[in-house]
Symmetry: C2
Subunit: 190 residues, 2 copies
């Protein structure tokens, strides 16, 4: 009953992701996006009232994918194995960290839809932390984690590792193994 679309949501979100990761939030414009998708600017406005709204929808899309993958993680094993698994998982989704920081760049004086998405994204963010929390609880119950270390720091530390810039081009495998080693047992020789 209607004309065929020239671009899918997925194409739009992929183009958005590339643009934001390469050049940052501010460098993302409807003009540039339209050019990449080979359509006119006006057609994008058919679906999103403005940039904030589009980006908030993009973030929802990314977060949903992340949480869905997270469901698939096996959490029935030994704690050390789980740490392994968790860090591997985070590295596989290394961009999520970068992507989620964009939430804060969406201004508050924007459309209802964007505001609603912002709230929803904050809920998701908390949900994500709660899942990680569950993981920590297992470690605590197995007496595997140092008691004096607050959960927030352990979680923050694990999460932050994915953002360490690899200035010296160290091989992926050594990189991940080394980070696991430091987080679990530290850098000091015993």
């Amino acid at each position: 009953m209607a004309r065929e679309r020239k671009f899918t949501d997925e194409q739009l979100f992929n183009a958005t992701k590339k643009m934001i990761i390469n050049d940052g939030y501010e460098a993302f414009t409807f003009s540039r996006l339209a050019a990449v998708l080979h359509v006119s600017r006006g057609s994008i406005y058919k679906y999103y009232e403005n940039k904030d709204e589009l980006i908030s929808e993009f973030l929802m899309y990314e977060m949903n994918r992340f949480l869905h993958d997270f469901q698939g993680l096996d959490i029935s094993r030994d704690f050390e194995e789980q740490v392994e698994q968790l860090i591997d998982f985070i590295f596989k989704h290394s961009n999520i960290h970068h992507v989620m920081e964009i939430i804060h760049q969406i201004p508050n004086n924007t459309t209802q839809r964007a505001k609603r998405n912002k709230l929803k994204l904050n809920e998701y963010h908390i949900e994500m932390y709660q899942r990680f929390q569950g993981f920590l609880d297992i470690g605590r119950s197995q007496q595997k984690l140092k008691k004096q270390l607050p959960d927030g720091i352990i979680l923050g530390m694990i999460f932050q590792t994915i953002a360490i810039p690899n200035h010296f081009g160290i091989a992926q495998e050594i990189w991940i193994t080394s980070i696991k080693e430091i987080i679990c047992n530290g850098m000091i020789e015993k």
Copy 2:
């Protein structure tokens, strides 16, 4: 022989810093800066041809201060004490990390002066890494560091810790102590 200036370099750099840290590189404009300094836009153009040039000068200023403070560090002691000292130092200068990332946002199609500053800043960045390297060398020579861990990862890890977001408002002292503990000895109970 000339009229009195309405703003010092220091005032200008402080205003620049605030603006960039609060709202990011793109949100920084000559218009807003001029408003903060209570001068006209034109007067800033007397000193800087454009935004890239101004920001590159600002980064030089920050980096110089950082390296100067770094000189003051005592590197004659025991390795564990030095790690302590180093992490405290990094936390004291926690903004330098955020500030230095801005280098990459300065485009290449800009003025000679800005390009020269960009090169100089990259040299400084390497210099900074070399100083940290010296610190690692001591640890290596005292056999205190695990042999299999590449220097780049240890340095990256230490540096990255300052960017961990403190979502749960953990007290500064506990925060720093915990991070030292994880980096040195890990989170797993022995």
